[in-house]
């Protein structure tokens, strides 16, 4: 899996692609541990599969962001992954945006 990071309007954006499972979790966790963001957008455009370890990591990082007074938004969630969020109703726990830009905008409306 590829992990790329950039900034959009000062907000860190992590772009993930490929299969996001227990084997890939450590490198994504390493990015969060290194950056300790209060706000971040995780772009899941290229992710075609997510297992429960990956979901656990996203939930954990969402909690960390909220502890730091911010929020974690997801963006560009492809259909197979969106279904996973819908079935587990994790779509009620994360702001899910259609673009990185909208994800950043969603962050500014929440919990500041």
């Amino acid at each position: 899996m590829k992990v790329e990071s950039t900034h959009l309007e000062g907000v860190p954006v992590v772009r993930l692609s490929g299969r996001f499972d227990a084997y890939e979790v450590p490198q994504v966790r390493a990015w969060f541990d290194a950056n300790k963001p209060a706000k971040a957008v995780v772009n899941l455009t290229g992710v075609n599969f997510l297992d429960s370890s990956a979901l656990s990591l996203l939930v954990q990082q969402m909690k960390h962001c909220r502890e730091r007074g911010g929020e974690l938004a997801l963006s560009c969630v492809a259909q197979p992954v969106r279904i996973i969020f819908e079935l587990t109703r994790l779509d009620r726990a994360f702001p899910i945006a259609i673009s990185e830009q909208e994800g950043v905008a969603a962050l500014s409306f929440r919990r500041n």
Partner: protein, 501 residues
């Protein structure tokens, strides 16, 4: 020299003395450092008429004859003295060589003994202590020591006989024992650890990330020479082989213990998830659960209520294996307690309280748990349920199409407040509720294709006319038939409830 001459060459000296006395000499004597050590013939003959000859160049051991001597006496005495001296020296060399040979044989025997006895030690630390003691004994050192390191730091350092080396000396030795490469250390006098007058140590690799040191301190001979170094080398080779065996044995033992503990854990979990096939409150019930590994994070439970109703739940802790299994036991207990002791429990209230209880634990362990809780009342035929992120839950009305009962809240442990609500469903005779874990719809075939929610719905719909037991057996048969010999990658659990009639 005079002593060894007197003991080793006594007969030669006697013969020489007889010869000189017969040739007219008054006396024949062995002189050392100006003193007469042995005299043949008459004492007190005038010194003026005597001649002397050194036996070995550079020493003060001499032969002396005195009296009226023939003219060839001096040449003859020189010859005799040199011959006797040479014989004596050769015999001395022979003695030393014989001594060395005996010592070597002793050492070989001792090394063999050590090899035999070391085999008995299967604990690495005991073996190190034994090796240190044997090394000291074999090279005649006051103390021996041995250490193991992981290539960076020393993990154990022992000395034998104990208490010979000071703490300060051991600290210097410890520093030399660390490190991840083979090597040796024979320090010069000014580099010796405090209180130690001679030292040699050899560091060698046993296996990846395991290095060992064997060393000796304070030689009885003053310094450690080449034979000692060779001997320690031989001891190191032996030790390396036996230590590797001991480590392998320990690995196997640890593996066996872990295996036995896993088996116990599996038994415990199997008892927490008994097969609950039964008829209860007009319901035909069947269950199935198979962890992907020895133990898993799926769970279910059925709890008859005093009013004749039935509370039941199915959950799936995120992750797999032991961590999920430990959390599963915690969630099961919390849910059971709330379901049992809460005043007028409803599925949503039970889920809400479980979430309150376990939110922090789930957060600290980066886990969450999807959970479906239901309560069936035989009087009304109503099924009240709440679903925290659990999927797939399939409802198949008698003769109708199978549909998913979707969750309305995220899993337990995700949010610190409860979004769950109770929903009601009236069960008609022949209606089937099938609560499974995602290990079924996400089961993969050899090509990596998922069994899928669609196939699961089809399978349940197809087998719904059978008994609860048959539905479990046939749906699982479809899943297993689909995945073939592909490895089961996630826990698989199924609870089937069918209204009788």
């Amino acid at each position: 020299m005079p002593n060894s001459l007197l003991s080793g060459q006594r007969r030669e000296l006697d013969a020489q003395a007889q010869f000189w006395l017969a040739a007219g000499a008054a006396s024949f004597a062995l002189i050392d450092d100006g003193q007469c050590r042995q005299l043949w013939g008459a004492a007190g003959v005038g010194d003026a008429a005597s001649i002397e000859s050194p036996m070995i160049a550079g020493t003060r051991t001499r032969l002396r004859v005195s009296g009226a001597l023939p003219i060839w006496s001096e040449a003859r005495l020189n010859l005799d003295a040199r011959t006797l001296g040479a014989i004596s020296r050769l015999e001395n060399d022979l003695d030393v060589m014989t001594g060395d040979l005996v010592e070597s044989q002793d050492q070989l025997l001792a090394l063999y003994d050590m090899a035999q006895s070391t085999r008995l030690y299967l604990n690495a630390e005991e073996m190190l202590t034994h090796t240190a003691g044997e090394a000291a004994r074999l090279v005649h050192a006051r103390s021996g020591f041995a250490a193991m390191s992981d290539g960076v730091a020393v993990t154990s350092l022992v000395q034998s006989p104990g208490g010979q080396l000071s703490t300060a000396a051991l600290e210097v030795i410890r520093a030399r024992c660390a490190g991840g490469e083979a090597g040796e250390w024979l320090p010069a006098r000014d580099a010796l650890p405090p209180g130690v007058h001679s030292l040699y140590l050899k560091r060698f690799r046993v296996r990846k990330d395991v290095y060992c040191v064997v060393g000796v301190a304070d030689s009885a001979r003053g310094v450690f020479g080449s034979p000692d170094v060779k001997l320690i080398g031989a001891i190191a080779d032996r030790t390396s082989a036996y230590l590797e065996n001991a480590l392998l044995y320990q690995d196997n033992l640890r593996q066996a213990r872990l295996g036995a503990e896993m088996q116990l854990a599996r038994d415990v979990q199997a008892r927490l998830l008994p097969s609950l096939d039964r008829m209860f409150a007009g319901l035909d019930i069947a269950t199935f659960s198979a962890p992907a590994r020895d133990v898993g994070g799926d769970f279910y439970d059925l709890m008859p209520e005093p009013d004749g109703g039935l509370m039941f739940y199915v959950g799936d802790v995120s992750g797999k294996g032991m961590p999920a299994a430990m959390m599963m036991a915690v969630v099961r207990t919390a849910t059971r307690t709330h379901a049992k002791f809460m005043h007028e429990p409803t599925p949503a209230l039970v889920l809400g309280r479980t979430n309150e209880d376990l939110y922090d634990d789930m957060t600290n362990n980066a886990m969450f748990t999807t959970m479906f809780v239901g309560r069936y009342s035989p009087k009304s035929g109503e099924l009240v349920y709440a679903n925290a992120g659990h999927s797939p839950v399939v409802f198949c009305p008698s003769g109708g199409r199978a549909v998913l009962l979707e969750a309305d809240a995220p899993p337990v442990g995700v949010l610190d407040f409860n979004l769950c609500a109770d929903h009601t469903l009236r069960l008609q005779p022949g209606d089937v509720l099938c609560v499974t874990s995602d290990g079924l719809n996400e089961a993969k075939d050899m090509g990596g294709e998922l069994f899928s929610t669609e196939r699961l719905l089809e399978s349940i719909e197809l087998h719904a006319p059978g008994s609860a037991r048959d539905i479990v057996a046939r749906v699982m048969g479809d899943v297993h038939g689909f995945s073939g010999s592909a490895e089961q990658s996630d826990d698989q659990t199924m609870l089937v409830i069918k209204r009788h009639g």
